[in-house]
């Protein structure tokens, strides 16, 4: 039993730097273009101290002199020591980040926020429901499950992308499906005629996913409307609300509960979240512009 606990234990996230508003300097070791607008950066700390994190946590990542944004960690929590971030270019800072060249440096603060706590789903079935870039924050959790596959029951990954060209981590998806005992189902919103896969919203995959609702933990990441409809569909099938975990996105300027931007009524999503149970979130997600 202790062995099992040790095997499942997450690495303890690093304590915050002496001044959590001051970044550490990381060098870009590798960059990879994942899709049309999404890139992965692999970063190494100049001070040599790898950044330990729990799956689901994020850092405040910054392009010098341009700005700083919250980006989830997308790498393996038990991995090589390089910090991985997968970034979609949607604006000023993300544009600068994805175009940072090898050898250049970026600033990193964190890790911040709550994690998926995927180890708590051990002993039961697991459903990952993902929309778009949401696969990046979930990847460390999926890698954890892959590494401890025997501790979980049925594992399903339902992934919705906008178009076939937007599918992230395609080699991973194939590997998880073929070699890791994960049932991967992909759907796209729009597809050219050549696409042989499914078309439709990711929620349409839930009825056929074949998990046992009473012993399932679900991890959901994507646009807020998609997370809400997925969570409602899961709950309707009998998954307990507190076992449906969502990662919330809001504007975040500090990552440590001081700047106020990420508030969702009484929650500071950067420290109380970003990952929270649907039991906590449902009343807040159903009110417009809260």
């Amino acid at each position: 039993m202790t062995e099992l606990l040790e095997a499942t234990a997450q690495p303890t996230p690093d304590p915050p730097t002496p001044d959590p508003m001051v970044p550490r300097v990381f060098r870009v070791e590798r960059t990879r273009q994942d899709t049309r607008d999404t890139y992965t950066l692999e970063l190494s700390p100049l001070d040599g101290e790898p950044l330990r994190f729990a799956p689901g946590q994020f850092t405040m990542l910054q392009a010098w002199g341009i700005g700083e944004v919250p980006i989830s960690i997308s790498g393996d929590p038990h991995g090589s020591g390089l910090l991985e971030h997968t970034i979609r270019n949607v604006g000023n800072v993300t544009r600068a980040l994805v175009h940072t060249s090898r050898g250049a440096t970026v600033g990193v603060r964190g890790p911040f926020g709550t994690g998926w706590e995927v180890e708590r789903g051990a002993g039961g079935d697991v459903v990952f429901i993902v929309g778009g870039i949401g696969l990046a924050p979930l990847r460390p959790a999926i890698l954890h499950v892959v590494r401890h596959r025997d501790q979980y029951g049925r594992v399903v990954l339902l992934y919705g992308a906008r178009t076939p060209d937007d599918i992230l981590f395609a080699p991973d998806l194939e590997h998880w499906q073929d070699d890791c005992g994960i049932d991967v189902a992909v759907t796209v919103d729009n597809a050219p005629h050549s696409w042989r896969g499914r078309v439709g919203f990711v929620t349409s995959l839930i009825p056929r996913a074949g998990f046992d609702p009473l012993r399932t933990t679900a991890y959901v990441c994507g646009p807020e409307v998609m997370m809400r409809s997925s969570a409602l569909a899961l709950r309707d099938r009998g998954v307990a609300a507190d076992r449906i975990r969502l990662s919330m996105e809001r504007s975040m300027k500090c990552g440590i509960g001081l700047c106020g931007h990420c508030q969702l009524r009484e929650l500071f999503l950067c420290v109380d979240g970003p990952v929270l149970g649907f039991d906590r979130l449902e009343p807040l997600m159903s009110r417009w512009e809260l």
């Binding site: 915050p16 001044d19 959590p20 508003m21 001051v22 970044p23 300097v25 100049l46 910054q62 010098w64 002199g65 341009i66 700005g67 700083e68 979609r88 949607v90 604006g91 440096t105 600033g107 646009p223 996105e249 809001r250 504007s251 300027k253 500090c254 440590i256 509960g257 001081l258 700047c259 106020g260 931007h261 508030q263 009524r265 009484e266 500071f268 420290v271 009110r287 417009w288 512009e289 809260l290």
Partner: protein, 386 residues
């Protein structure tokens, strides 16, 4: 205000000058109320002659004006245009600068710069004192804190005053924060100017304050002075310009997110952010990054921000709070409801500044009353049903 074991002293105006001198002698920058640009505001002072002697204020919705008093009181105004916030939690704070010229960026933290002299406040109102207590909780009692605030705050010395002439916009009694300072000060002063000689009853709240009081010419406060000091506080409490009914306020706000009140306020609110700038407890901030033209240095600043601005809630896809109604609702709900869940108290100290400085004359107490009236109106017909 008198606590057992604490000996109150009576001090004359000259003694107040000695107090300022003692503070300056110890290296403090002394912030005191003074008349600037047609308002009373805290500024560095060196002399009692800079205090707003003989000045009072008249405050109402969207209006502030100074008035000449017919006495020599120096503290007989209500809260000034700003609280201690701009001093302890400046609108723009340099966090660090980085030199990017070399192979590896070098980051210098601004907290490591030569420290500024410690601050002393003379004549801080009890609403503003309560607001400092709230900022202490928000900014330096949680897992993460504001390093700059904590450092500045640690050395700050506070000489508070009892409000003797509250304004039309004041409601500290409703929020239980005034008008008499109860805790959190080094010295507390009650000015007596209505009868007898112009004098100040001073009480120490800390050993530091006690030691300072010893440097000042004073006499033991007489029983009459103590009674008079007690009375001016009580009289001020009875003359509040506004009332905010706090009954079940959290539920009222949480349950009425779709009240027509929000549309009504939104039709008047200009989203100018004035209310959040003058509010002594509003703490939202943003970050600005700047680099020089050659790109060899970068600087990061923490700057005040406001939940009334559109950018405040931007995420990819647009602002979370697009509409004016959602922004006013956020502000009021945070202040009066969510704050209790987050920090164990209200986020409003009843200073009334948001009422005075709102160009659209929006009044937080009136909006709460209207929200409550409409909520009760809606409930009543339901209750009447069998």
């Amino acid at each position: 205000m008198t606590k057992p074991g604490n000996v109150a002293r009576t001090v004359m105006l000259d003694g107040l000058q000695e107090l300022i001198d003692a503070l300056l002698g110890r290296g403090y920058t002394v912030f005191g109320p003074t008349v600037v640009d047609g308002v009373i505001d805290y500024r560095p002072i060196t002399s009692v002659t800079q205090l707003p002697q003989g000045w009072g204020d008249v405050q109402d919705n969207a209006s502030y004006r100074l008035r000449r008093r017919d006495d020599d009181a120096v503290f007989a105004f209500a809260c000034g245009a700003q609280s201690a916030k701009p001093v302890l939690f400046p609108a723009d704070e340099l966090l660090w600068r980085a030199r990017l010229g070399g192979a590896e960026p070098e980051i210098e933290r601004a907290v490591d710069d030569k420290p500024a002299p410690p601050y002393a406040f003379l004549g801080l109102r009890s609403c503003d004192l309560a607001a400092i207590g709230i900022h202490d909780r928000v900014l330096s009692s949680r897992q993460f804190g504001d390093t700059h605030y904590a450092l500045r705050r640690e050395d700050t010395l506070i000489v508070a005053v009892t409000c003797t002439d509250p304004a039309g916009t004041c409601f500290c009694v409703s929020m239980d924060t005034g008008p008499v300072p109860r805790s959190g000060f080094d010295l507390a002063v009650t000015e007596l100017y209505a009868d007898g000689p112009h004098r100040f009853v001073v009480e120490a709240g800390t050993p530091r304050g006690e030691e300072l009081l010893d440097q000042v010419a004073s006499t033991a406060a007489s029983d009459e002075d103590l009674v008079a000091a007690e009375r001016v506080g009580a009289e001020a409490a009875a003359r509040m310009g506004r009332v905010l009914d706090g009954t079940n306020l959290k539920d009222l706000l949480y349950d009425n997110t779709e009240s027509p009140v929000w549309d009504d306020v939104a039709s008047r609110c200009l989203r100018c952010t004035n209310c959040t700038l003058v509010c002594p407890t509003c703490f939202c901030t943003s970050i600005t990054d700047a680099s020089d033209l050659t790109g060899t240095t970068a600087e990061r600043h923490r700057v005040w921000d406001s939940c009334f601005s559109e950018e405040y809630s931007y995420i990819h896809g647009g602002a979370v709070r697009e509409s004016g109604r959602s922004r006013y609702r956020q502000w009021m709900t945070h202040k009066l409801a969510a704050w209790h869940d987050q920090f164990g108290s209200s986020g409003c100290v009843g200073c009334g500044r948001c009422i005075t400085w709102c160009p659209a004359a929006i009044d937080i107490t009136a909006e709460v009353a209207e929200l409550r009236r409409l909520a009760e109106q809606r409930q009543r017909p339901q209750e009447a049903r069998p």
